[in-house]
Symmetry: C2
Subunit: 430 residues, 2 copies
């Protein structure tokens, strides 16, 4: 058999890089059968070359210079696992200019500086493959691009950050506060020492950017995405939601309305029987609604050495199968169907969970209801907990309302003298 070889250059030997090396080594025969190519690491770079060697890379192939990988004429595809948007950008830019395909797990890079890189890839007729950048081992990029190629996407809701989902699961299931759940997540390795990037929603927003490029054929300005994290979420609200039959999840949301696209990361209530409501712990899932395929949901591991490496190697296999760069090109570059404007959240329409905290007294609910009514916000249900007379939480579920109206009403109510604390506002997604 005439074995053809696809030369791989690996840059960055962290956790995922180690997993990639293992798969390429352990599954060489299988990958050859499936891709038609011998998938071989011909050069690998890391600042710590000893680490590369300890991972099984031959001394002659290990280097501490990314340029050496990029300039190696036997390298056809570069796996960029450096991370971040600085050096990684330079590496990918150089590699694309050198005519190399890119496989990357770097969501920050593609979300914040992707447009130029995709344009460059198109010019050089090479691919940027990034299945591993969104929801790890869940083949959501391929599902949208290939599975839904005959559809127009109408809604995307994703649980795409395992750290947040782990913390929220602990808050829901074990009644832990945010702070305690975070500590547990850190001690178990589900959260970084500095968790800001995850818990404040930035990581989810990066993934949402990539998903909406594909799903809505648009190139959203990352800085315009509405981002609300979970660090201010109160256990009281999570518990109140649970009593009403809802689970709180941090969602990445993309909803097109006419030519406007709402892009937002926020904690939201999901009815217990929603497919995403039972996604527990560090698992990820994306729920889609498309005009023809209708509802679907994709669930799996969003992170971890081998799941992420699985997605990286699957992208390599796809590039090998695609054969000529011309074929890959048409598959990877988002081509705008519509140009959407990112819509302001004040125009968002959904049902809301609102918790007011008030002093005890007569007529308070009447005043609250009147102000909501004046702003065209209808109430679906009210729960008043009068266990403690000095501090009475009133939990209101609204009918579908315009967010701007709701926020105006809440602001007015917060200014009244019976109001004790800022209101808790959570969107209900369905």
């Amino acid at each position: 058999m005439n074995k053809k070889t696809l030369g791989i250059g690996l840059i960055g030997a962290g956790t995922v890089g180690g997993g990639v090396i293992k798969i390429l080594e352990n599954k060489a025969e299988l990958l050859f059968k499936r891709s038609g190519f011998n998938l071989e690491i011909v050069k690998a770079a890391d600042l710590d070359t000893d680490k590369l060697i300890s991972l099984g890379i031959d001394k002659t192939k290990a280097t501490n210079s990314a340029d050496e990988v990029i300039n190696d004429k036997d390298v056809d595809v570069i796996i960029e696992l450096v991370g971040g948007t600085g050096i990684a950008y330079e590496i990918v830019e150089k590699a694309l200019n050198a005519g190399k395909h890119i496989v990357t797990a770097n969501k920050a890079l593609l979300a914040e500086r992707g447009e130029k890189l995709f344009t460059l890839a198109e010019k050089n007729e090479v691919a940027i493959a990034f299945e591993a950048a969104v929801a790890g081992a869940i083949p959501i990029i391929k599902a949208i691009r290939d599975g839904l190629s005959a559809d127009t996407l109408q809604c995307l809701l994703g649980i795409v950050n395992g750290t947040c989902n782990y913390i929220l699961t602990e808050m829901i299931s074990s009644g832990k506060s945010y702070a305690d759940a975070l500590k547990d997540a850190q001690s178990l390795g589900f959260a970084e020492a500095d968790p800001t990037f995850d818990v404040e929603g930035n990581d989810s927003a990066h993934k949402l950017t990539l998903l909406s490029q594909l799903g809505f054929g648009t190139s959203p300005d990352f800085t315009k995405i509405n981002i609300e994290g979970i660090s201010n979420l109160s256990l009281e609200d999570v518990a109140s939601a649970a009593k009403l039959g809802y689970k709180v999840k941090l969602l990445a949301v993309a909803r097109p309305i006419n030519n406007q696209l709402f892009l937002s990361v926020h904690p939201a209530l999901l009815k217990e029987n929603h497919p995403l409501a039972n996604v527990m712990g560090s698992m990820n899932a994306i729920s889609l609604f498309a005009d023809n395929a209708q509802e679907s949901m994709f669930y799996g591991r969003g992170a971890g050495e081998m799941p992420t490496a699985s997605a990286v190697v699957a992208d390599i296999v796809e590039i090998a199968r695609s054969g000529s760069s011309d074929k890959i090109k048409s598959k990877w570059i988002p081509d705008a169907e519509n140009t959407y404007d990112i819509a302001p959240m004040n125009d968002y329409h959904c049902r809301f969970f609102v918790r007011f905290t008030v002093s005890d007294g007569f007529g308070i609910l009447g005043k609250i209801a009147s102000i909501l009514g004046e702003k065209h916000v209808s109430i679906k249900s009210v729960e008043q907990n009068e266990a403690n007379e000095a501090r009475v939480p009133i939990v209101i579920l609204t009918q579908v309302a315009k967010e701007g109206n709701l926020r105006e009403a809440v602001k007015e109510i917060e200014a009244l003298d019976f109001n004790l604390e800022p209101a808790g506002i959570l969107r209900i997604e369905e």
Copy 2:
């Protein structure tokens, strides 16, 4: 722009065919952008040509002769929506020999007579695409073939028949008997007038055959698959399972153990928190475990006009994108990684739900437990319902046991004089 055209021949204008015509018509521009080709029906055949015309096919393109479609030199891809394994086989065989790609939703054809057709496709360097044949709009074929190309599949559990899942959901949620739930399903269009093919598990077995070809690189003999339907399932057992925290689902199961592959369709118990346990109504879902990607689940519409048509058209787009037949070939034809033997179910290992129905009396449970013990079946829990002294159901959940041993023990117990009815045996999948 130089519009290239991919000529489509449609054979069979039933529900799905109508959906395909709609999508190709309504999304022509979008599909061109996504595929790089003008996807155009150049010839369509149905015995009822008036139906074709009423669906919007131009008179000059409508025919009642499949041969006319196959022999049209402008046809590049044939969509076979005739169904069945007779005429459809002849059509596909002729089309492959004429060098046409095939897109089909015909699971029976590919499961029962697929091997010859795939071989013929390979010889003629054309594709057989069949995403629509398994779980409708869920892109499970692409997920296994592309998303998990770096993985070895270790377990597949699928809810792939909407009729059965609808009936079981009604039994679980509304406490209806099988017969009543079936009647409801029929009146709502979720079950055929003659539901045998669905409720006895044959349809699920066809889909299992296709999934295991891809997932395990094998060509299982369809007739060797273990098939147990739901028509003998008692509401009593479904309700007992629910009390113990389990839901009963009809599952298509593929589990490789060493060089043996268990392929079975059977009703099974799933713990309430299993991702498949909450797949309700006519929805489909497939749960996978792979060595690198680990657990994943794919959920969506398994049938219906537009969801199924969405999968058909997505396959057309993929063929268009692939460009040359050479590229498609390597993607569609299952290439054996291992040759598995289909294992006999007596060698299956799992936990079991067993319901004995006995007369009241002392020492009965002791006798049952002793016989199970002799056959190396350990008991995890026992529930005895003594509400009715004349007929006492004893529900036993076992530890993991070998199926052959369990069945021997049950046979012995059924022969004892206190036993009133054949035992109910259900596997527990996890």
